[in-house]
Protein backbone atom coordinates (compact mmCIF):
# COMPACT_ATOMS: atom_id res chain seq x y z
CA UNK A 1 0.00 0.00 0.00
CA UNK A 2 1.83 3.07 -1.16
CA UNK A 3 1.65 6.00 -3.49
CA UNK A 4 4.30 6.92 -5.97
CA UNK A 5 3.89 9.96 -8.17
CA UNK A 6 6.08 12.02 -10.43
CA UNK A 7 4.11 14.67 -12.23
CA UNK A 8 4.56 17.63 -14.53
CA UNK A 9 1.92 20.20 -15.36
CA UNK A 10 1.94 23.75 -16.68
CA UNK A 11 -0.92 25.82 -15.39
CA UNK A 12 -1.04 29.57 -15.71
CA UNK A 13 2.49 30.59 -14.83
CA UNK A 14 2.97 27.70 -12.47
CA UNK A 15 5.20 24.91 -13.65
CA UNK A 16 4.53 21.99 -11.34
CA UNK A 17 7.25 19.35 -11.45
CA UNK A 18 7.18 17.26 -8.34
CA UNK A 19 7.74 13.73 -7.12
CA UNK A 20 5.89 12.40 -4.10
CA UNK A 21 6.02 9.08 -2.32
CA UNK A 22 3.68 8.11 0.48
CA UNK A 23 4.04 4.81 2.29
CA UNK A 24 1.26 2.59 3.57
CA UNK A 25 -0.37 4.23 6.55
CA UNK A 26 1.89 7.23 6.20
CA UNK A 27 0.62 10.76 6.46
CA UNK A 28 2.47 13.32 4.40
CA UNK A 29 1.92 16.94 5.31
CA UNK A 30 2.26 19.13 2.24
CA UNK A 31 3.35 22.64 3.11
CA UNK A 32 4.01 25.57 0.87
CA UNK A 33 3.21 29.21 0.25
CA UNK A 34 0.09 30.40 -1.57
CA UNK A 35 0.20 29.48 -5.21
CA UNK A 36 2.91 26.86 -4.79
CA UNK A 37 0.77 24.26 -6.51
CA UNK A 38 -0.43 22.24 -3.53
CA UNK A 39 -4.07 22.16 -4.57
CA UNK A 40 -3.02 21.49 -8.14
CA UNK A 41 -0.95 18.50 -7.05
CA UNK A 42 -3.91 17.13 -5.12
CA UNK A 43 -6.20 17.49 -8.13
CA UNK A 44 -3.69 15.57 -10.21
CA UNK A 45 -3.59 12.76 -7.65
CA UNK A 46 -7.38 12.67 -7.51
CA UNK A 47 -7.46 12.41 -11.27
CA UNK A 48 -9.67 15.43 -11.82
CA UNK A 49 -6.80 17.09 -13.64
CA UNK A 50 -4.55 15.22 -16.06
CA UNK A 51 -0.79 15.77 -16.02
CA UNK A 52 1.24 16.89 -19.00
CA UNK A 53 3.71 14.20 -18.19
CA UNK A 54 4.53 11.68 -15.49
CA UNK A 55 3.24 8.66 -13.63
CA UNK A 56 1.06 7.96 -10.60
CA UNK A 57 1.03 4.55 -9.01
CA UNK A 58 -1.10 3.54 -6.02
CA UNK A 59 -0.61 0.14 -4.36
CA UNK A 60 1.08 -1.16 -7.48
CA UNK A 61 -1.75 -0.04 -9.77
CA UNK A 62 -0.90 2.57 -12.35
CA UNK A 63 -3.36 5.45 -12.08
CA UNK A 64 -1.69 7.71 -14.61
CA UNK A 65 1.03 7.11 -17.10
CA UNK A 66 1.21 9.79 -19.72
CA UNK A 67 3.88 8.00 -21.76
CA UNK A 68 1.68 4.89 -21.93
CA UNK A 69 -1.43 6.99 -22.40
CA UNK A 70 -3.22 5.43 -19.44
CA UNK A 71 -5.44 7.30 -17.02
CA UNK A 72 -7.72 5.86 -14.36
CA UNK A 73 -10.84 7.92 -13.85
CA UNK A 74 -11.41 9.66 -10.51
CA UNK A 75 -14.20 7.38 -9.41
CA UNK A 76 -12.12 4.27 -9.86
CA UNK A 77 -9.18 5.63 -7.88
CA UNK A 78 -10.74 5.29 -4.46
CA UNK A 79 -9.39 8.59 -3.30
CA UNK A 80 -11.08 10.71 -0.67
CA UNK A 81 -10.81 14.45 -1.07
CA UNK A 82 -11.68 17.45 1.05
CA UNK A 83 -11.12 20.76 -0.68
CA UNK A 84 -10.57 24.27 0.58
CA UNK A 85 -14.09 25.42 -0.11
CA UNK A 86 -15.90 22.25 0.92
CA UNK A 87 -18.15 21.83 -2.17
CA UNK A 88 -20.94 20.17 -0.25
CA UNK A 89 -23.76 19.20 -2.59
CA UNK A 90 -26.10 22.12 -2.02
CA UNK A 91 -29.41 20.34 -2.64
CA UNK A 92 -28.73 17.36 -0.40
CA UNK A 93 -29.11 17.32 3.33
CA UNK A 94 -26.01 16.99 5.47
CA UNK A 95 -26.85 13.33 6.03
CA UNK A 96 -27.23 12.64 2.31
CA UNK A 97 -23.94 14.39 1.65
CA UNK A 98 -22.12 12.14 4.06
CA UNK A 99 -23.92 9.02 2.88
CA UNK A 100 -23.26 9.86 -0.77
CA UNK A 101 -20.03 7.92 -1.12
CA UNK A 102 -21.49 4.75 0.37
CA UNK A 103 -24.65 5.04 -1.70
CA UNK A 104 -22.49 5.52 -4.79
CA UNK A 105 -20.63 2.36 -3.95
CA UNK A 106 -23.85 0.42 -3.74
CA UNK A 107 -24.53 0.39 0.02
CA UNK A 108 -28.28 0.29 0.72
CA UNK A 109 -29.97 3.42 1.94
CA UNK A 110 -30.49 2.46 5.55
CA UNK A 111 -27.03 1.11 6.40
CA UNK A 112 -25.49 4.04 4.55
CA UNK A 113 -27.51 6.51 6.58
CA UNK A 114 -26.72 4.72 9.80
CA UNK A 115 -23.00 4.98 9.16
CA UNK A 116 -23.33 8.56 8.00
CA UNK A 117 -25.05 9.35 11.27
CA UNK A 118 -22.18 7.76 13.20
CA UNK A 119 -19.73 9.87 11.26
CA UNK A 120 -21.65 13.02 11.92
CA UNK A 121 -21.51 12.22 15.62
CA UNK A 122 -17.79 11.73 15.39
CA UNK A 123 -17.22 15.16 13.88
CA UNK A 124 -19.50 16.67 16.49
CA UNK A 125 -22.47 17.35 14.24
CA UNK A 126 -25.02 14.91 15.60
CA UNK A 127 -28.41 16.57 15.19
CA UNK A 128 -27.44 18.42 12.03
CA UNK A 129 -28.52 15.55 9.73
CA UNK A 130 -31.34 17.43 8.06
CA UNK A 131 -29.64 20.75 7.51
CA UNK A 132 -28.84 21.93 4.02
CA UNK A 133 -25.22 22.96 3.43
CA UNK A 134 -26.33 26.56 2.97
CA UNK A 135 -27.54 26.58 6.55
CA UNK A 136 -24.18 25.64 8.03
CA UNK A 137 -21.46 27.89 9.29
CA UNK A 138 -18.07 27.65 7.62
CA UNK A 139 -16.61 25.27 10.17
CA UNK A 140 -19.65 23.05 10.27
CA UNK A 141 -19.48 22.70 6.50
CA UNK A 142 -15.82 21.79 6.71
CA UNK A 143 -16.54 19.02 9.17
CA UNK A 144 -19.29 17.60 6.98
CA UNK A 145 -16.88 17.55 4.04
CA UNK A 146 -14.39 15.68 6.18
CA UNK A 147 -16.94 13.08 7.21
CA UNK A 148 -18.09 12.70 3.61
CA UNK A 149 -14.56 11.89 2.46
CA UNK A 150 -13.60 9.62 5.33
CA UNK A 151 -16.71 7.45 5.34
CA UNK A 152 -15.76 5.63 2.13
CA UNK A 153 -12.41 4.51 3.58
CA UNK A 154 -10.40 5.64 0.61
CA UNK A 155 -7.03 4.12 -0.26
CA UNK A 156 -5.62 7.59 -0.73
CA UNK A 157 -6.89 10.47 1.32
CA UNK A 158 -6.30 13.99 0.04
CA UNK A 159 -7.05 16.79 2.46
CA UNK A 160 -6.72 20.36 1.26
CA UNK A 161 -6.53 22.49 4.40
CA UNK A 162 -9.14 20.33 6.10
CA UNK A 163 -9.13 22.29 9.35
CA UNK A 164 -8.68 25.80 8.01
CA UNK A 165 -12.19 26.98 8.83
CA UNK A 166 -12.48 25.37 12.24
CA UNK A 167 -12.55 27.51 15.33
CA UNK A 168 -9.86 27.25 17.92
CA UNK A 169 -12.20 25.44 20.25
CA UNK A 170 -13.22 22.71 17.83
CA UNK A 171 -9.95 22.41 16.01
CA UNK A 172 -8.00 20.37 18.58
CA UNK A 173 -10.89 17.95 18.96
CA UNK A 174 -11.40 17.48 15.21
CA UNK A 175 -7.65 17.34 14.71
CA UNK A 176 -7.33 14.70 17.40
CA UNK A 177 -10.18 12.75 15.80
CA UNK A 178 -8.50 13.05 12.43
CA UNK A 179 -5.18 11.96 13.87
CA UNK A 180 -6.80 8.95 15.53
CA UNK A 181 -8.51 8.00 12.32
CA UNK A 182 -5.34 8.41 10.29
CA UNK A 183 -3.37 6.35 12.81
CA UNK A 184 -5.69 3.38 12.43
CA UNK A 185 -5.87 3.75 8.67
CA UNK A 186 -3.75 1.74 6.29
CA UNK A 187 -4.03 3.99 3.25
CA UNK A 188 -1.88 6.87 2.18
CA UNK A 189 -2.71 10.39 3.23
CA UNK A 190 -1.64 13.78 1.92
CA UNK A 191 -2.68 16.77 4.03
CA UNK A 192 -2.20 20.28 2.73
CA UNK A 193 -1.90 22.80 5.52
CA UNK A 194 -0.56 26.24 6.27
CA UNK A 195 -0.33 25.58 9.95
CA UNK A 196 3.10 24.28 10.98
CA UNK A 197 1.69 22.84 14.20
CA UNK A 198 -0.88 20.93 12.20
CA UNK A 199 1.81 19.66 9.86
CA UNK A 200 3.88 18.49 12.81
CA UNK A 201 0.97 16.87 14.61
CA UNK A 202 -0.63 15.16 11.64
CA UNK A 203 2.32 14.46 9.38
CA UNK A 204 4.65 11.50 9.68
CA UNK A 205 6.66 13.29 7.06
CA UNK A 206 6.63 16.84 5.80
CA UNK A 207 7.01 17.81 2.15
CA UNK A 208 7.52 21.44 1.31
CA UNK A 209 6.47 22.67 -2.12
CA UNK A 210 7.53 26.05 -3.49
CA UNK A 211 6.82 27.34 -6.99
CA UNK A 212 5.84 23.84 -8.11
CA UNK A 213 8.98 22.14 -6.85
CA UNK A 214 9.69 20.10 -3.72
CA UNK A 215 12.28 22.14 -1.84
CA UNK A 216 12.53 20.10 1.33
CA UNK A 217 11.17 16.95 2.85
CA UNK A 218 11.80 14.87 5.93
CA UNK A 219 10.68 14.10 9.47
CA UNK A 220 8.78 16.98 11.02
CA UNK A 221 11.44 17.43 13.70
CA UNK A 222 14.21 17.36 11.12
CA UNK A 223 12.47 19.96 8.96
CA UNK A 224 11.72 22.08 12.00
CA UNK A 225 15.34 21.98 13.14
CA UNK A 226 17.01 22.35 9.77
CA UNK A 227 14.94 24.55 7.46
CA UNK A 228 16.35 24.81 3.96
CA UNK A 229 14.38 27.79 2.62
CA UNK A 230 13.27 31.11 4.02
CA UNK A 231 9.68 30.01 3.80
CA UNK A 232 10.28 26.94 5.95
CA UNK A 233 12.38 28.93 8.36
CA UNK A 234 9.58 31.48 8.85
CA UNK A 235 7.12 28.64 9.15
CA UNK A 236 8.95 26.95 11.99
CA UNK A 237 9.96 30.24 13.52
CA UNK A 238 13.72 30.14 12.98
CA UNK A 239 16.19 32.59 11.55
CA UNK A 240 17.91 31.14 8.51
CA UNK A 241 21.12 32.45 6.98
CA UNK A 242 23.17 31.01 4.13
CA UNK A 243 26.93 31.18 3.90
CA UNK A 244 30.16 29.40 3.21
CA UNK A 245 31.86 27.80 6.23
CA UNK A 246 35.57 27.35 6.72
CA UNK A 247 36.19 25.76 10.10
CA UNK A 248 34.64 27.69 12.98
CA UNK A 249 33.43 30.59 10.88
CA UNK A 250 30.92 31.05 8.09
CA UNK A 251 30.92 34.01 5.73
CA UNK A 252 27.60 35.36 4.53
CA UNK A 253 27.05 36.87 1.05
CA UNK A 254 26.86 40.32 2.65
CA UNK A 255 30.37 39.88 4.03
CA UNK A 256 29.20 39.47 7.61
CA UNK A 257 30.57 36.45 9.47
CA UNK A 258 29.03 33.97 11.85
CA UNK A 259 31.05 32.21 14.52
CA UNK A 260 30.26 28.53 14.83
CA UNK A 261 30.59 26.12 17.74
CA UNK A 262 31.77 23.23 15.58
CA UNK A 263 33.84 22.89 12.44
CA UNK A 264 32.02 23.04 9.11
CA UNK A 265 33.13 23.46 5.54
CA UNK A 266 31.56 24.59 2.26
CA UNK A 267 28.08 26.01 1.67
CA UNK A 268 26.01 25.82 4.83
CA UNK A 269 22.69 26.79 6.33
CA UNK A 270 22.86 28.60 9.64
CA UNK A 271 19.71 28.50 11.77
CA UNK A 272 18.85 29.87 15.21
CA UNK A 273 15.69 30.69 17.14
CA UNK A 274 14.45 34.24 17.61
CA UNK A 275 14.52 33.71 21.39
CA UNK A 276 18.24 32.98 21.12
CA UNK A 277 18.82 36.52 19.88
CA UNK A 278 19.69 39.07 22.54
CA UNK A 279 19.25 42.77 21.80
CA UNK A 280 21.38 45.40 23.52
CA UNK A 281 22.00 49.11 23.02
CA UNK A 282 25.79 48.70 22.69
CA UNK A 283 28.16 46.03 21.42
CA UNK A 284 27.83 43.18 23.92
CA UNK A 285 30.96 42.03 25.72
CA UNK A 286 29.82 38.63 27.01
CA UNK A 287 30.33 35.15 25.64
CA UNK A 288 28.18 35.72 22.56
CA UNK A 289 30.71 35.86 19.79
CA UNK A 290 28.19 36.84 17.10
CA UNK A 291 27.07 40.43 17.21
CA UNK A 292 25.71 42.69 14.47
CA UNK A 293 24.56 46.27 14.48
CA UNK A 294 21.06 46.32 12.96
CA UNK A 295 18.10 48.61 12.29
CA UNK A 296 14.67 47.70 13.60
CA UNK A 297 12.01 47.57 10.89
CA UNK A 298 8.99 46.19 12.72
CA UNK A 299 7.67 45.23 16.14
CA UNK A 300 4.73 42.94 16.71
CA UNK A 301 3.16 41.41 19.81
CA UNK A 302 3.48 37.68 19.69
CA UNK A 303 2.06 35.76 22.61
CA UNK A 304 3.88 36.94 25.74
CA UNK A 305 6.78 38.21 23.70
CA UNK A 306 7.41 40.89 21.15
CA UNK A 307 8.83 39.89 17.81
CA UNK A 308 11.38 42.35 16.48
CA UNK A 309 12.23 42.38 12.79
CA UNK A 310 15.61 43.84 11.90
CA UNK A 311 17.68 44.57 8.86
CA UNK A 312 21.39 45.21 8.24
CA UNK A 313 24.36 42.98 7.36
CA UNK A 314 22.11 40.12 8.41
CA UNK A 315 18.35 40.20 8.72
CA UNK A 316 17.11 38.46 11.84
CA UNK A 317 14.01 38.10 13.95
CA UNK A 318 14.36 38.45 17.68
CA UNK A 319 11.81 37.61 20.37
CA UNK A 320 12.15 39.82 23.43
CA UNK A 321 10.00 40.58 26.46
CA UNK A 322 7.80 43.68 26.52
CA UNK A 323 10.00 44.86 29.41
CA UNK A 324 13.07 44.77 27.17
CA UNK A 325 11.19 46.78 24.54
CA UNK A 326 10.45 49.47 27.10
CA UNK A 327 13.99 49.43 28.61
CA UNK A 328 15.76 49.61 25.28
CA UNK A 329 13.20 51.99 23.79
CA UNK A 330 12.92 49.77 20.76
CA UNK A 331 10.94 51.20 17.87
CA UNK A 332 11.03 50.97 14.10
CA UNK A 333 14.08 52.85 12.84
CA UNK A 334 16.18 52.59 15.99
CA UNK A 335 19.54 50.86 15.94
CA UNK A 336 20.43 47.92 18.20
CA UNK A 337 23.10 45.26 18.59
CA UNK A 338 21.86 41.72 18.11
CA UNK A 339 23.93 38.87 19.47
CA UNK A 340 23.65 35.09 19.35
CA UNK A 341 25.79 32.56 21.17
CA UNK A 342 27.59 30.19 18.86
CA UNK A 343 26.19 27.26 20.81
CA UNK A 344 22.67 28.35 19.99
CA UNK A 345 23.39 28.08 16.28
CA UNK A 346 22.56 25.04 14.21
CA UNK A 347 24.78 24.57 11.15
CA UNK A 348 24.15 22.03 8.39
CA UNK A 349 25.23 21.66 4.76
CA UNK A 350 23.25 23.64 2.22
Amino acid sequence: MSLFARLTLNRGDLRLDAALTVGAGEVVALLGPNGAGKSTLLQLLAGTLRPDDGRVELNGTTLDDVAAGSHVRPRERRVGMVVQDYLLFPRMSVLENVAFGLRSRGVAREPARRRAREWLDRVGLGGYERRRPGELSGGQAQRVALARALIVEPRLLLLDEPLAALDAGTRPAVRAELRRHLAGYGGCTVVVTHDPLEAMVLGDRVVVLERGTVVQEGQPAEVARRPRTDYVARLVGLNLLRGVADGRVAELPTGATVALAHDAFGPVHVAFAPVAVTLSPRRPEGSARNAWELVITDLEAHGDLVRVTTDGPVSVLADVTPLAVADLRLEPGSTVWASVKATEINVYPA
Binding site: T48, P74, R75, G80, F89, F100, G101
Partner: protein
Protein backbone atom coordinates in the same frame (compact mmCIF):
# COMPACT_ATOMS: atom_id res chain seq x y z
CA UNK B 1 -39.19 30.92 13.64
CA UNK B 2 -39.29 33.87 11.33
CA UNK B 3 -37.33 33.79 8.09
CA UNK B 4 -34.68 36.48 8.04
CA UNK B 5 -35.64 39.05 5.45
CA UNK B 6 -33.19 39.60 2.67
CA UNK B 7 -32.61 43.16 1.68
CA UNK B 8 -34.71 43.21 -1.45
CA UNK B 9 -34.10 46.41 -3.21
CA UNK B 10 -37.60 47.37 -4.27
CA UNK B 11 -36.54 50.53 -6.02
CA UNK B 12 -35.91 49.34 -9.56
CA UNK B 13 -33.32 51.26 -11.58
CA UNK B 14 -34.78 53.21 -14.51
CA UNK B 15 -32.35 51.53 -16.88
CA UNK B 16 -34.20 48.32 -16.18
CA UNK B 17 -37.69 49.55 -15.41
CA UNK B 18 -38.35 51.43 -18.65
CA UNK B 19 -37.37 48.68 -21.08
CA UNK B 20 -39.14 46.17 -18.86
CA UNK B 21 -42.34 48.16 -19.09
CA UNK B 22 -42.03 48.32 -22.87
CA UNK B 23 -41.45 44.56 -22.93
CA UNK B 24 -44.44 43.85 -20.74
CA UNK B 25 -46.59 46.17 -22.85
CA UNK B 26 -45.64 44.34 -26.05
CA UNK B 27 -46.73 41.09 -24.46
CA UNK B 28 -49.78 42.23 -22.55
CA UNK B 29 -51.50 44.69 -24.91
CA UNK B 30 -52.33 42.16 -27.63
CA UNK B 31 -53.87 39.92 -25.02
CA UNK B 32 -56.03 42.77 -23.84
CA UNK B 33 -57.02 43.20 -27.47
CA UNK B 34 -58.17 39.59 -27.57
CA UNK B 35 -60.11 39.97 -24.37
CA UNK B 36 -61.86 43.08 -25.69
CA UNK B 37 -62.80 41.32 -28.90
CA UNK B 38 -64.03 38.08 -27.31
CA UNK B 39 -67.79 37.41 -27.70
CA UNK B 40 -68.48 37.23 -23.98
CA UNK B 41 -72.14 36.34 -24.35
CA UNK B 42 -71.43 33.23 -26.43
CA UNK B 43 -68.70 32.17 -24.08
CA UNK B 44 -70.55 29.60 -21.97
CA UNK B 45 -72.02 27.75 -24.92
CA UNK B 46 -68.72 27.63 -26.78
CA UNK B 47 -66.71 26.52 -23.79
CA UNK B 48 -69.03 23.74 -22.74
CA UNK B 49 -69.48 22.26 -26.19
CA UNK B 50 -68.49 18.61 -26.42
CA UNK B 51 -66.01 19.30 -29.22
CA UNK B 52 -64.13 21.94 -27.26
CA UNK B 53 -63.92 19.85 -24.11
CA UNK B 54 -62.65 16.88 -26.11
CA UNK B 55 -60.04 19.04 -27.80
CA UNK B 56 -58.99 20.55 -24.48
CA UNK B 57 -58.56 17.14 -22.92
CA UNK B 58 -56.57 15.94 -25.90
CA UNK B 59 -54.37 19.04 -25.87
CA UNK B 60 -53.53 18.72 -22.20
CA UNK B 61 -52.74 15.00 -22.44
CA UNK B 62 -50.61 15.23 -25.54
CA UNK B 63 -48.68 18.32 -24.41
CA UNK B 64 -47.94 16.64 -21.10
CA UNK B 65 -46.92 13.40 -22.76
CA UNK B 66 -44.71 15.30 -25.19
CA UNK B 67 -43.07 17.15 -22.32
CA UNK B 68 -42.35 13.89 -20.54
CA UNK B 69 -40.80 12.40 -23.67
CA UNK B 70 -38.80 15.60 -24.16
CA UNK B 71 -37.57 15.44 -20.55
CA UNK B 72 -36.49 11.83 -20.85
CA UNK B 73 -34.77 12.28 -24.20
CA UNK B 74 -33.89 15.96 -24.19
CA UNK B 75 -32.09 16.32 -20.85
CA UNK B 76 -29.57 13.63 -21.87
CA UNK B 77 -29.02 15.38 -25.18
CA UNK B 78 -28.34 18.62 -23.31
CA UNK B 79 -25.92 16.75 -21.08
CA UNK B 80 -24.10 15.34 -24.10
CA UNK B 81 -23.78 18.84 -25.50
CA UNK B 82 -22.58 20.44 -22.29
CA UNK B 83 -20.42 17.77 -20.72
CA UNK B 84 -18.75 15.61 -23.29
CA UNK B 85 -16.19 16.28 -25.98
CA UNK B 86 -18.07 14.46 -28.75
CA UNK B 87 -16.50 15.06 -32.15
CA UNK B 88 -19.64 16.32 -33.90
CA UNK B 89 -20.84 18.34 -30.95
CA UNK B 90 -21.23 21.73 -32.51
CA UNK B 91 -22.98 20.22 -35.52
CA UNK B 92 -25.33 18.41 -33.14
CA UNK B 93 -26.01 21.68 -31.39
CA UNK B 94 -26.92 23.19 -34.71
CA UNK B 95 -29.21 20.29 -35.58
CA UNK B 96 -31.00 20.66 -32.28
CA UNK B 97 -31.97 24.22 -33.06
CA UNK B 98 -33.34 23.34 -36.48
CA UNK B 99 -36.94 22.66 -35.41
CA UNK B 100 -36.97 26.13 -33.91
CA UNK B 101 -36.31 27.64 -37.30
CA UNK B 102 -38.27 25.25 -39.44
CA UNK B 103 -41.80 26.48 -40.10
CA UNK B 104 -43.98 23.92 -38.34
CA UNK B 105 -45.89 22.92 -41.45
CA UNK B 106 -42.65 21.97 -43.15
CA UNK B 107 -41.75 20.09 -39.98
CA UNK B 108 -44.96 18.13 -40.40
CA UNK B 109 -44.07 17.35 -44.01
CA UNK B 110 -40.65 16.19 -42.86
CA UNK B 111 -42.22 13.91 -40.26
CA UNK B 112 -44.53 12.42 -42.87
CA UNK B 113 -41.53 11.74 -45.06
CA UNK B 114 -39.98 9.60 -42.38
CA UNK B 115 -42.86 8.17 -40.41
CA UNK B 116 -45.58 8.26 -43.07
CA UNK B 117 -46.72 5.04 -44.69
CA UNK B 118 -44.41 5.73 -47.60
CA UNK B 119 -41.69 7.07 -45.34
CA UNK B 120 -38.39 5.36 -44.67
CA UNK B 121 -39.25 4.17 -41.18
CA UNK B 122 -43.02 4.36 -41.42
CA UNK B 123 -43.06 2.08 -44.47
CA UNK B 124 -40.97 -0.53 -42.73
CA UNK B 125 -43.09 -0.34 -39.58
CA UNK B 126 -46.25 -0.66 -41.64
CA UNK B 127 -45.00 -3.73 -43.44
CA UNK B 128 -43.44 -5.42 -40.45
CA UNK B 129 -45.88 -4.68 -37.66
CA UNK B 130 -48.84 -3.28 -39.53
CA UNK B 131 -48.54 -0.16 -37.40
CA UNK B 132 -48.96 3.25 -38.88
CA UNK B 133 -48.15 6.40 -36.95
CA UNK B 134 -49.74 9.31 -38.81
CA UNK B 135 -53.23 10.36 -37.79
CA UNK B 136 -52.95 8.78 -34.38
CA UNK B 137 -52.65 10.47 -31.02
CA UNK B 138 -49.08 9.17 -30.90
CA UNK B 139 -48.39 11.19 -34.03
CA UNK B 140 -49.62 14.32 -32.27
CA UNK B 141 -47.20 13.67 -29.43
CA UNK B 142 -44.37 12.98 -31.84
CA UNK B 143 -45.01 16.20 -33.74
CA UNK B 144 -45.08 18.13 -30.48
CA UNK B 145 -41.85 16.51 -29.29
CA UNK B 146 -40.15 17.37 -32.55
CA UNK B 147 -41.19 20.97 -32.34
CA UNK B 148 -40.92 21.57 -28.59
CA UNK B 149 -37.99 19.44 -27.36
CA UNK B 150 -35.33 21.87 -28.65
CA UNK B 151 -36.58 24.47 -26.20
CA UNK B 152 -35.93 22.12 -23.36
CA UNK B 153 -32.53 21.11 -24.69
CA UNK B 154 -31.30 24.65 -25.16
CA UNK B 155 -32.54 25.75 -21.73
CA UNK B 156 -30.99 22.76 -19.97
CA UNK B 157 -27.70 23.08 -21.79
CA UNK B 158 -27.50 26.71 -20.73
CA UNK B 159 -28.13 25.71 -17.13
CA UNK B 160 -25.54 22.94 -17.28
CA UNK B 161 -22.92 25.37 -18.50
CA UNK B 162 -23.46 27.75 -15.59
CA UNK B 163 -23.06 25.15 -12.85
CA UNK B 164 -19.79 24.51 -11.06
CA UNK B 165 -18.29 21.31 -12.44
CA UNK B 166 -16.12 20.81 -9.37
CA UNK B 167 -19.12 19.32 -7.59
CA UNK B 168 -19.09 16.60 -10.20
CA UNK B 169 -15.37 16.09 -9.62
CA UNK B 170 -16.06 15.61 -5.93
CA UNK B 171 -18.80 13.09 -6.67
CA UNK B 172 -16.41 11.19 -8.93
CA UNK B 173 -13.76 10.97 -6.24
CA UNK B 174 -16.45 9.64 -3.91
CA UNK B 175 -16.92 6.75 -6.31
CA UNK B 176 -20.04 7.88 -8.08
CA UNK B 177 -20.47 6.64 -11.63
CA UNK B 178 -21.20 9.32 -14.15
CA UNK B 179 -24.81 8.14 -14.06
CA UNK B 180 -25.06 8.57 -10.29
CA UNK B 181 -23.31 11.90 -10.52
CA UNK B 182 -25.73 12.99 -13.17
CA UNK B 183 -28.75 11.86 -11.21
CA UNK B 184 -27.83 13.07 -7.76
CA UNK B 185 -25.50 16.01 -8.29
CA UNK B 186 -25.89 17.46 -11.75
CA UNK B 187 -29.64 17.13 -12.15
CA UNK B 188 -30.56 18.74 -8.81
CA UNK B 189 -28.15 21.57 -9.55
CA UNK B 190 -29.78 22.35 -12.89
CA UNK B 191 -33.34 21.72 -11.68
CA UNK B 192 -34.40 25.36 -12.16
CA UNK B 193 -33.10 25.24 -15.72
CA UNK B 194 -34.88 21.94 -16.36
CA UNK B 195 -38.09 23.38 -14.99
CA UNK B 196 -37.79 26.46 -17.16
CA UNK B 197 -37.11 24.28 -20.17
CA UNK B 198 -40.05 22.00 -19.40
CA UNK B 199 -42.34 25.00 -19.10
CA UNK B 200 -41.23 26.32 -22.47
CA UNK B 201 -41.56 22.89 -23.96
CA UNK B 202 -45.02 22.27 -22.55
CA UNK B 203 -46.29 25.66 -23.63
CA UNK B 204 -44.88 25.23 -27.11
CA UNK B 205 -46.42 21.76 -27.37
CA UNK B 206 -49.77 23.05 -26.18
CA UNK B 207 -49.82 25.78 -28.83
CA UNK B 208 -48.41 23.56 -31.57
CA UNK B 209 -50.50 23.56 -34.71
CA UNK B 210 -48.70 23.43 -38.07
CA UNK B 211 -46.69 20.24 -37.68
CA UNK B 212 -49.57 18.50 -35.91
CA UNK B 213 -52.21 19.27 -38.51
CA UNK B 214 -49.87 18.16 -41.30
CA UNK B 215 -48.49 15.03 -39.69
CA UNK B 216 -51.45 13.95 -37.57
CA UNK B 217 -54.42 15.52 -39.30
CA UNK B 218 -57.39 16.82 -37.37
CA UNK B 219 -59.64 13.97 -36.33
CA UNK B 220 -61.91 14.93 -33.43
CA UNK B 221 -60.95 13.09 -30.26
CA UNK B 222 -57.84 11.59 -31.77
CA UNK B 223 -55.72 14.36 -33.22
CA UNK B 224 -57.77 17.53 -33.14
CA UNK B 225 -56.13 19.59 -30.44
CA UNK B 226 -57.33 22.97 -29.27
CA UNK B 227 -55.16 25.02 -31.68
CA UNK B 228 -56.50 22.92 -34.58
CA UNK B 229 -60.02 23.47 -33.32
CA UNK B 230 -59.25 27.19 -33.41
CA UNK B 231 -57.89 26.88 -36.92
CA UNK B 232 -60.99 25.03 -38.06
CA UNK B 233 -63.08 27.79 -36.53
CA UNK B 234 -61.15 30.40 -38.49
CA UNK B 235 -61.59 28.29 -41.61
CA UNK B 236 -65.31 28.37 -40.96
CA UNK B 237 -65.13 32.15 -40.74
CA UNK B 238 -65.70 32.00 -37.02
CA UNK B 239 -62.72 33.98 -35.83
CA UNK B 240 -64.56 34.84 -32.63
CA UNK B 241 -64.77 31.21 -31.66
CA UNK B 242 -61.07 30.98 -32.42
CA UNK B 243 -60.43 33.86 -30.03
CA UNK B 244 -62.44 32.19 -27.31
CA UNK B 245 -60.53 28.98 -27.78
CA UNK B 246 -57.25 30.85 -27.62
CA UNK B 247 -58.33 32.58 -24.43
CA UNK B 248 -59.25 29.19 -23.02
CA UNK B 249 -55.80 27.88 -23.85
CA UNK B 250 -54.21 30.93 -22.29
CA UNK B 251 -56.21 30.65 -19.10
CA UNK B 252 -55.62 26.93 -18.72
CA UNK B 253 -51.91 27.14 -19.36
CA UNK B 254 -51.29 30.21 -17.25
CA UNK B 255 -53.22 28.65 -14.39
CA UNK B 256 -51.25 25.44 -14.61
CA UNK B 257 -47.88 27.12 -15.08
CA UNK B 258 -48.35 29.67 -12.35
CA UNK B 259 -49.62 27.03 -9.95
CA UNK B 260 -46.78 24.70 -10.79
CA UNK B 261 -44.03 27.26 -10.57
CA UNK B 262 -45.22 28.77 -7.36
CA UNK B 263 -45.36 25.38 -5.74
CA UNK B 264 -42.05 24.40 -7.13
CA UNK B 265 -40.16 27.58 -6.44
CA UNK B 266 -41.81 27.93 -3.05
CA UNK B 267 -40.57 24.53 -1.96
CA UNK B 268 -37.02 24.85 -3.17
CA UNK B 269 -35.98 28.42 -2.51
Amino acid sequence: MSRPRRTDDLRVPAGLLIPALVGVAILVLPMLGLVLRAPWSDLPSILTSEAVLTALRLSLTTATAATLVALVCGVPVAWLLARTALPGRSLLRGVVTVPLVLPPVIGGVALLMVFGRRGVIGGWMDETFGVSLPFTTTAVVLAQVFVAMPFLIVAVEGALRTTDRRYEDVAATLGATSWTTFRRVTLPAVAPGVLAGAVLCWARALGEFGATVTFAGSLPGTTRTLPIEAYVAIGAGDSEVAIVLSLLMIVVSVAILVGLRDRWIGSSA
